[in-house]
């Protein structure tokens, strides 16, 4: 049943993508891209990739429309007609088709959705589950992986977030200026 919902949503996505390509009003395209992201987020949620879904929703539906509108207000509201030169269009179509076929070909190698003996579950995960609590002394396995086994990775992530926070502060905080 859940699979049926995913299929219906993917059909909606394809219809929407075709419409997006054919539309010429940039405003409509910016708005509809938000819908695309929302549907994509639902698909991710149904496929159990909740974190990916959340990123998609925040970036795609939350901030992209705002940024696109800002860009449109600085440029123009309508897309110009695509080039009439036939060669240009063929090169574009060929690039898109080749990239699409390559991506689809790459998915044929992937293990099935939710299969228990996929490589990712057999390689190092059992070791962490077994020895994690004794080796790190942390009872929660997620915390053990993040703070101990992947400690340097987490340190890098925290550095990135800290830098982003400082940048936002520097942008929003009008140091000493009182010209409101």
């Amino acid at each position: 049943m859940e699979r049926l919902h995913v299929i219906v949503l993917v059909i909606l996505l394809i219809a929407l993508a075709v419409t997006l390509v054919r539309l010429r009003s940039l405003l409509a395209i910016a708005i509809l891209t938000g819908v695309y992201s929302l549907i994509m987020a639902v698909v991710y949620t149904l496929l159990d990739a909740v974190d990916v879904a959340f990123t998609e929703a925040v970036v795609g539906a939350g901030i992209t429309l705002t940024l696109m509108l800002a860009a449109i207000s600085l440029t123009t509201r309508r897309e110009t007609k695509p080039g009439k030169r036939k060669g240009q269009r063929i090169v574009g179509a060929a690039t898109a088709i080749v990239a699409g076929v390559a991506l689809i070909y790459a998915t044929t190698d992937m293990p099935g959705l939710g299969i228990q003996d996929a490589p990712i579950h057999r390689h190092v995960a059992p070791y962490y589950i077994e020895t994690g609590p004794t080796e790190t002394g942390v009872p929660n396995i997620v915390t053990a992986s993040l703070a101990s086994y992947r400690g340097f990775d987490t340190l890098g992530e925290v550095t990135v977030i800290f830098t982003a926070g400082i940048s936002v502060m520097a942008l929003l905080w009008r140091w000493g200026k009182d010209d409101r």
């Binding site: 859940e2 949503l9 639902v42 949620t45 705002t66």
Partner: protein, 87 residues
């Protein structure tokens, strides 16, 4: 029961999508997108119950908060023609 509700919500999503694509005015599109966002929230909540994991509810609450950021930006753009410039 949940399955039927989910299916109905998906159909409603398709209908709002048609309105968003056909327009004709930007306001139709904005409204359709907003309703579509509400449908997304409902669908994620229902999917949580459908798969016996009601903790998806938190996720749909967060989506509901996100939903009107874009709508507000778009409405501001339509009213002023820009998103705030130097006065």
């Amino acid at each position: 029961m949940f399955s039927l509700a989910t299916l109905l919500v998906v159909i409603a999503m398709a209908m709002t999508l048609i309105r968003a694509v056909r327009g004709p005015t930007p306001y139709d599109r904005i409204l359709a997108v907003n309703v579509h966002g509400t449908m997304t929230v409902l669908l994620i909540a229902l999917a949580g119950f459908l798969t016996d994991r009601p903790d998806f509810l938190d996720l749909s609450l967060a989506y509901a908060l996100l939903n009107f950021v874009g709508t507000l930006a778009a409405l501001k753009f339509f009213k002023h023609g820009h998103l705030g410039e130097e006065q």
